[in-house]
């Protein structure tokens, strides 16, 4: 319960820091170009304080950390980061099939054959549509 409240405060704090950073960076822009960033930065700082104040008043936090599977989210984000790195390196087809398999297995789908078959079929269909029909230059390793 307390952890949920802290998470809300941390979120407000992060937004406050972003707002302050926008305000500081925005000060260096010339003339009218600094006007909007300054308003946005100041607005973010004030609104973040307002959010934190409201969070303090409310009995129940809007976020429930116990209901978030952090390990699964972490694995997904790592898989997506790896995908970004592999996309140019091994091409669209292989990297996207690997991404699909890792997400499906990561979601605890216990049929390994299906987890390999479905993304492979999907990637091939999508590849044909985009690369051949729509002429989108999806990067490929061997072509």
């Amino acid at each position: 319960m307390k952890k949920n409240k802290y998470a809300e405060y941390i979120f407000s704090l992060v937004l406050m820091i972003i707002g302050a950073a926008v305000l500081i960076i925005g000060k260096d822009f010339r003339g009218n170009d600094k006007y909007f960033p300054s308003i946005i930065g100041a607005g973010m700082v004030i609104t973040a304080i307002w959010m934190a104040w409201e969070d303090r008043k409310q009995d129940k936090a809007c976020i429930d950390l116990t209901k978030i599977n952090f390990a699964a989210v972490g694995i997904t984000i790592v898989a997506l980061a790896a995908y970004m790195a592999l996309f140019r390196l091994i091409g669209y087809v292989l990297s996207t099939i690997l991404l699909g398999i890792s997400i499906i297995l990561g979601l605890r789908y216990n049929n390994v054959k299906g987890a390999i078959l479905w993304p492979t079929l999907m990637v091939l269909v999508v590849f044909v549509i985009f690369r051949i029909l729509l002429k989108v230059p999806l990067p490929v390793l061997f072509l």
């Binding site: 978030i68 599977n69 997506l80 995908y83 970004m84 499906i104 789908y109 729509l134």
Partner: protein, 504 residues
């Protein structure tokens, strides 16, 4: 006369072009499938479909997107009625009476009422869209920079005033959207802002990859994060869903629904046309009104009127939510911002000149909404009778993996650039975090689109008014928009006072 001619062009573009008609029907069915699946919604389907429309002509692209939007709004009622799990936010209220009807063995009738009510709401909204949007656009042609500035301000005010939830979070969403909009080269001085030396950020954040990330990838990460909760969604579905056949309301029932449909259509059309108000507001208002109108009925116990009112209202929002987008270039909700993204890909921009420069495309979209609303009936009949039970049993694990593949491919295809995948993934993670902390996406997307417009019009207004802002008060349209803004901003205060009064 000209309007009738334009309607004719629009309808012929849909009915007499087999490809467009086919895409519209496919889109409606696809939308219905997506709408029926809890956790998926029209923005997800539309965001992954936009890149696929790249090779189509604008009319065809809009037909499939209009079909998805219309179909998903109606499709949400299927899982609401059969499972008591709303497929989309627009079907939350339908579950109150719809699922009770299903439990009493009247599930088929509830689905039939939902379909017919959606058709009525959708057709009326398409007619209202076709009549109002060109009129509003014609008036907006008289707008100068100060009027546009006030229009943007009014857009923000309506989002703050009409949105559900905490006002501080709506404002924060808007500020984040504005921050996104200032990234890149500034419109006046041409200097780099918040690019941090990155070449990819010079042109700002591209809209479509951002939307794909927030609505598509963000939703998948969110589903993954909820996995801890024992049974998976597909297991729950397998245990509870039974096959039903759609039944239609008889003449007497239809007769009794007529005033409810009229009332709910008005609510849907008015609420839909206000940027930021959205479907949830409309369905609750329609349900509340029908409860006041039919005091003889006990709502929440399986009353057919409790299905007819919200289903008519939510489909009325579909068409009318396009009025601010088509006439003023202001996307009122996430779905309409996706239409904006699709049009941008084809080099088209909505706004007052849209009905002059691209009248055929504008009326094709209006006709597509009209046709999709009619198509709802046969499509829902096929879906409910032959597909629904199978669709509701789809493995979510596989579905999410496949959607992710479409998301990353679509993001790449919008710019043929791998940095667009990075944008989509980064915004996917941002979208997930914002969703968990209940920061709404609607105001964020609206602010992203309006942000650059607001800044440019502010600078132009300063020049037009020679730095004297009080000059705005001498322009009647500006005064009108200012008063509307004040009205919207006072709405939360009214709600607060009403709540306080009720509490006492």
């Amino acid at each position: 006369m000209q309007m009738l001619l334009n309607w004719g062009i629009g309808l012929s573009n849909v009915f007499l072009t087999p490809t467009n008609l086919l895409l519209l029907l496919v889109g409606t069915l696809l939308g219905m499938i997506v709408g029926a699946l809890p956790g998926l919604n029209s923005p997800i389907a539309m965001s992954i479909m936009i890149p696929l429309t790249y090779g189509m002509d604008p009319g065809a692209a809009l037909c499939i997107l209009a079909g998805i939007y219309t179909g998903s709004t109606c499709g949400g009622s299927v899982s609401s009625i059969l499972l008591e799990v709303p497929g989309t936010g627009a079907a939350v209220v339908t579950a109150f009476d719809g699922h009770q009807m299903y439990k009493e063995g009247k599930g088929g009738l509830a689905l039939g009422i939902s379909a017919v009510s959606s058709v009525v709401g959708g057709i009326i909204a398409a007619i209202v869209l076709g009549a109002c949007a060109p009129f509003v656009a014609a008036q907006a042609l008289k707008f100068g920079a100060p009027e546009y500035l006030m229009l943007s301000v009014m857009g923000f005010a309506s989002v703050i005033g009409m949105s559900n939830g905490r006002m501080s979070k709506n404002i924060m969403a808007m500020l984040i959207g504005l921050l996104i909009s200032v990234i890149g080269i500034s419109p006046q001085g041409g200097i780099k802002r918040f690019t941090f030396g990155t070449h990819a950020l010079l042109e700002g954040i591209p809209l479509v990859p951002m939307l794909i990330g927030m609505f598509g990838i963000g939703a998948i990460i969110s589903t993954i994060s909820d996995m801890k909760l024992g049974k998976t969604a597909s297991e729950v579905v397998k245990q509870t869903v039974q096959r039903v056949k759609m039944q239609y309301p008889d003449k007497e029932m239809i007769k009794s629904f007529l005033p409810i449909w009229a009332q709910s259509s008005v609510i849907g059309n008015v609420v839909g046309a206000i940027p930021g108000a959205g479907m949830t507001v409309a369905i609750f208002m329609a349900y509340d009104q029908v409860k006041r109108y039919r005091t003889d009925l006990e709502f929440g116990t399986g009353v057919p009127e409790g299905v007819a009112a919200p289903e008519c209202a939510n489909n009325a929002v579909v068409g009318s939510s396009m009025i601010p987008l088509l006439a003023l270039g202001v996307p009122g909700n996430p779905a309409s911002s996706l239409f904006l993204g699709a049009l941008l890909i084809h080099g088209l921009r909505t706004g007052p000149k849209f009905f002059v420069e691209s009248a055929d495309v504008a009326y094709t979209l209006i006709a597509a909404f009209f046709t999709a609303s009619i198509a709802l009936l046969p499509v829902m009949h096929i879906f409910v009778n032959y597909m629904a039970t199978y669709v509701l049993r789809l493995r979510y694990e596989v579905l999410n993996g496949l959607i992710l593949i479409l998301c990353v491919t679509g993001a790449f295809a919008t710019g043929n650039n791998d940095s667009y995948i990075v944008f989509a993934i980064v915004f996917g993670v941002i979208g997930f975090v914002l969703k968990k902390f209940h920061i709404p996406f609607g105001p964020l997307v609206l602010a992203t689109v309006l942000g650059s417009m607001l800044e440019s019009y502010y600078i132009q207004s300063m020049v037009t008014l020679r730095g004297n802002f009080s000059g705005m008060l001498q322009r009647p349209i500006c005064v009108g928009l200012l008063l509307l803004s004040v009205f919207f901003l006072l709405m939360p205060l009214k709600r607060f006072l009403k709540k306080k009064k009720g509490g006492v």
